[in-house]
């Protein structure tokens, strides 16, 4: 399924578009509480950009950029970030994901909430990104020889 795309048109346009997609995805992630979106949508867009590269650059190129195992690592890292932030506030006597209780005493609750949400959204995005790419890779390699 994943072979080098001989068409120069799609390949070059994808190369031009992918950085823009990723910047847009990061915007969606970091501005989650001002505009629609957030971690999940941003992660899905990041995964879409990787899929575009998978399809237009061929297996070898694309696996060098984003190895098949990286998806698992990203998903695990995202989950770890989410749990750490959540449990950090529990450890200081708040409830799960209560940003005001984060162990960063010199910051105001306002600032804490902003950075807490940002980090949690980033964790969610990493998880979604990694999971979607892993799902695609599994499906892609299963059906390749059919």
């Amino acid at each position: 399924m994943i072979h080098r795309y001989q068409g120069v048109v799609v390949e070059l346009v994808s190369r031009a578009v992918v950085p823009a997609i990723q910047v847009f995805a990061l915007y969606i992630i970091t501005h989650g509480h001002y505009s629609p979106g957030g971690g999940f949508q941003g992660g899905a867009l990041l995964a879409a950009s990787i899929l575009l590269l998978r399809f237009t650059q061929g297996r070898k190129e694309s696996y060098r950029r984003f190895p098949p195992g990286a998806g698992f690592a990203l998903a695990a890292l995202g989950l770890l970030i989410f749990l750490l932030v959540g449990l950090a506030s529990v450890a200081r006597g708040g409830s799960f994901l209560d940003y005001a209780y984060l162990p960063w005493p010199w910051a105001s609750p306002e600032t804490l909430r902003y950075y807490g949400i940002l980090v949690v959204e980033a964790g969610i995005a990493l998880t979604v990104w990694g999971t979607l790419v892993v799902v695609f890779d599994q499906v892609g390699t299963r059906t390749r020889d059919v």
Partner: protein, 104 residues
């Protein structure tokens, strides 16, 4: 004034969106129909989005509309090319008047 120009662009774009829809119905085969997505729909989208940007004035949203416009102008012909290429590689035959082709 700005409203009038914006509206004129929007209605011009609407006409081309209409043409692309008509083309999708009336053209006889896949390759001819792809002209509807590659051209008419691209221009229709560009005109409507441009008209809305003019109507909205110089705001951040209008700049974002211009970004969508650029993206559609780049992406639509590329998608059309990818599809027609796939069809050609699968030896999908073109409709030709000379061979007395019948509408698919």
């Amino acid at each position: 004034m700005r409203d009038v120009v914006g509206l004129a662009l929007i209605f011009g774009g609407l006409f081309f969106v209409l043409v692309s829809a008509l083309g999708l119905v009336r053209f006889p085969d896949f390759y001819t129909r792809s002209h509807a997505l590659g051209k008419s729909d691209t221009l229709g989208t560009i005109l409507v989005l441009g008209g809305l940007a003019v109507y909205g004035g110089l705001t951040l949203s209008s700049l974002k509309l211009l970004l969508i416009l650029i993206f559609v102008g780049l992406g639509n012909p590329t998608a059309t090319h990818a599809l027609t290429r796939a069809a050609l590689r699968s030896r999908h035959e073109i409709w030709s008047r000379r061979e007395g082709g019948k509408k698919e």
